[in-house]
């Protein structure tokens, strides 16, 4: 080969090559910058959420003397007794010397209004306490808790601008110095349902609600979705009708989720009156079963499309091999095609489920936004779900709910990560080479 670098053509070619390499490098850097900025935003997001959520994991309790010697309290009525007065007297005893109605009311407010309920459950579990005096840790009010966590904002502001007055600060500091205040793991948050009081509000109701709803969604959308995909891919004739169905499935995947909520409201809750009878209707409002059905309808297109893609990607040679030794079409599909398509089907299902887990809009329309204090005990009982709970808490004005909101987001993310982990595990389990 002759050296061309000195000829005009050679110089031009050198220049073109240099330009090509430069373009390659440029593209590489742009890609790297995109990835890094995405990673940065992710870190910022997680940082703020975790930072906001951490205070919600602990709560401050105050030790107050509880007098259970009153004759009205017996082992029989321990579960229904009104403990408010006992708690009240306890806090008066813990901070002695407070006189005057106004100050005493303020002092009472230092303990959570849910303290009496907490005390009731503690006494019910320990009936041997009845007739004795005990020192019991009860939750502080949310403002006192926020003050102790330094989340009240600027304490040096004029008293009128604060929710926590000077005298309350004095009492809290005093109790703290006496060692009567203890920061504990916030078990209330993880075991209680919703409440108007930030300190009594828990996520458990929403967790159970989400679990029940997703269970309904999973049980409905996976068999129907995978079945539809198998039929359309392997058995259905390719004609205008199946083409029309295919277009509709693809379009359904793009329908805004709130429309599915309207469908749930119109069909499952209200029913369609057809002149002599009502089609649909009668499903329980705000219940996991109804929410699950609506989410299943919403998830179906995702599951069908992903499953069809997975089935389509199985090499046709596998089908031919099975058919060639006399397997029926059903045998070829279920013995050979489906196992190979399983990883893809699972991935699609988990993506659909993750979408359903984070869905709020359709559930608002079927009443799952209702303020539900009790933990749902079944599919037909009123329930709410995690994203709706986050939505509601984000709307509440109390500062105490800010940490709860962040903590609930964290739990929702944990749910998602757990689901993805299961998907990855299942995929590795099913993955086979061919």
């Amino acid at each position: 080969m002759t050296d061309m670098s000195n000829t005009p053509e050679g110089a031009a070619r050198k220049k073109r090559t240099a330009k090509r390499y430069a373009a390659e490098k440029r593209f590489e850097y742009i890609g790297l910058a995109a990835v890094l900025s995405a990673a940065l935003f992710l870190v910022i997001l997680l940082w703020t959420i975790v930072g906001n959520a951490l205070p919600a994991l602990t709560y401050n309790y105050v030790k107050i003397p509880i007098d259970l010697t009153t004759e009205k309290l017996t082992a029989e009525n321990a579960g229904s007794f009104d403990y408010r007065k006992i708690v009240r007297n306890g806090i008066y005893e813990a901070v002695p010397g407070v006189k005057g109605r106004k100050d005493r009311k303020k002092l009472r407010g230092l303990v959570s209004s849910g303290a009496a309920v907490e005390l009731r459950s503690e006494v019910s579990e320990n009936p041997q306490w009845i007739g004795t005096k005990q020192d019991i840790y009860l939750p502080l009010s949310d403002t006192a808790d926020l003050y102790l966590k330094n989340l009240m904002g600027d304490i040096t502001r004029p008293e009128a601008e604060r929710k926590f007055s000077d005298i309350e600060i004095k009492w809290t500091d005093q109790l703290k110095e006496q060692g009567k205040i203890e920061s504990r793991f916030n078990s209330i948050f993880f075991t209680h349902g919703a409440s108007r009081e930030p300190e009594m509000a828990g996520i458990w109701g929403a967790v159970v609600g989400s679990f029940l709803t997703l269970l309904v969604t999973l049980v409905l959308s996976v068999p129907v979705g995978v079945g539809a995909a198998i039929y359309l891919e392997e058995f259905a004739p390719k004609n205008k009708l199946t083409g029309f169905i295919e277009i509709n499935i693809n379009n359904l995947a793009a329908v805004p989720s709130i429309v599915f909520g309207l469908l749930g409201l119109g069909f499952f809750l209200n029913g369609v009156y057809l002149g002599w009878f009502t089609l649909g209707g009668g499903f329980p409002r705000s219940a996991a079963i109804t929410g699950g059905i609506v989410l299943a309808l919403m998830t179906l297109p995702t599951v069908i499309i992903a499953s069809r893609a997975a089935i389509k990607s199985v090499p046709p040679s596998i089908r031919e091999a099975a058919l060639g030794i006399g397997a029926s079409k059903v045998q070829a599909t279920f013995h050979h095609v489906l196992p190979l398509a399983m990883p893809g089907i699972l991935t699609g299902t988990i993506i659909g489920m993750a979408g359903a887990l984070g869905e709020t809009a359709p559930l608002l329309l079927i009443g799952m936004v209702a303020f539900i204090v009790d933990i749902p005990g079944g599919f037909t009982e009123p329930a709410t779900v995690l994203p709706v709970q986050i939505f509601m808490w984000a709307d509440f004005p109390e500062i105490g709910f800010q940490q709860k909101t962040a903590a609930a987001i964290l739990i929702l993310l944990c749910f998602l990560i757990a689901m993805n982990a299961i998907a990855v595990w299942l995929r590795n389990k099913f993955e086979r080479r061919w």
């Binding site: 091999a321 060639g324 006399g326 086979r432 080479r433």
Partner: protein
């Protein structure tokens, strides 16, 4: 019909008798009226240039074309005197009797044992576990693979070499005890050594099975087959004894193809 019959096969001794077979892909006629008699326990080679319809014709014999939506077959194909396209014929039983080996080795992504055992299992051919093990062993022995895999039957069939995979596919086909084996260019994905092993195997299998093999290798057709049919543009140009066709072709097109002028 422009096909020139150089030798009239006796229909009575034919294992498979085809007459006036047409195959259409949608409106396109891929096979234009083929008559062919395939003799029992002989290797019949279907040769011809690419796209001449030899694979399409092969797939008519075990009704594999049924799986293609737009494909339509007319005419008459008889296996042991029974019309295989008759409504009362169960295609599943037909494919058990007429096994197929494909161009690309396509073992199931399962163990070697499972690959061979699958056919007998779905047809209920084994009465016990020992019986099944025996069927698998016999099939692998017949396919000439037993000595190479007997110690690793639980390993994936896809882990074998290309030639071994193809012999595994042959073992899989003979495990359901067919009487006919169709082979669609079984060596086109194999190296010369693996090819020669498979060709020897085909020669041995002739004792027990009727074999129809599609090949684009003239040498292979000459080496393994007793009968040859030359396809051209969807028609059979010439059929006859392999020796006869290769040494003394009657039709000028056959001669052109064999000598390499067309194809």
């Amino acid at each position: 019909m422009s096909a020139t019959k150089t030798q009239s096969n006796d229909t009575n001794t034919a294992k498979i008798a085809c007459s006036d077979v047409h195959v259409f892909y949608a409106d396109k006629e891929a096979i234009k009226g083929v008559d062919l008699n395939i003799k029992e326990k002989q290797v019949t080679a279907l040769i011809g240039p690419s796209g001449c319809g030899k694979s399409t014709f092969l797939r008519c014999i075990n009704r594999m074309n049924d799986t293609i939506d737009i494909c339509r077959v007319t005419g008459n194909i008889q296996l042991d005197g029974q019309d295989i396209y008759a409504p009362e014929v169960n295609v599943v039983d037909l494919r058990a009797d007429v096994g197929m080996v494909f161009q690309k080795p396509n073992p199931f992504p399962k163990s070697i044992f499972e690959n061979v055992a699958y056919g007998p299992r779905i047809h209920g051919l084994a009465s016990s576990k020992a019986d099944m093990a025996n069927i698998v062993e016999q099939s692998l022995i017949r396919a000439g693979l037993w000595e190479e895999v007997k110690d690793r039957l639980d390993q994936p069939g896809t882990g074998l070499s290309g030639g071994q995979q193809q012999r595994l596919c042959i073992a899989r086909a003979i495990a359901v005890s067919p009487s006919v084996i169709l082979m669609d260019e079984p060596c086109s994905a194999l190296d010369p050594i693996a090819t020669s092993i498979v060709e020897e195997l085909i020669d041995e299998l002739r004792q027990n099975y009727t074999i129809v093999i599609v090949t684009h290798s003239m040498q292979q057709a000459a080496r393994v087959s007793q009968e040859t049919a030359f396809f051209h543009l969807g028609e059979i140009v010439e059929t006859g004894a392999t020796e006869e066709i290769f040494t003394n072709p009657k039709d000028p097109r056959t001669e052109s193809y064999i000598t390499g002028r067309i194809g």
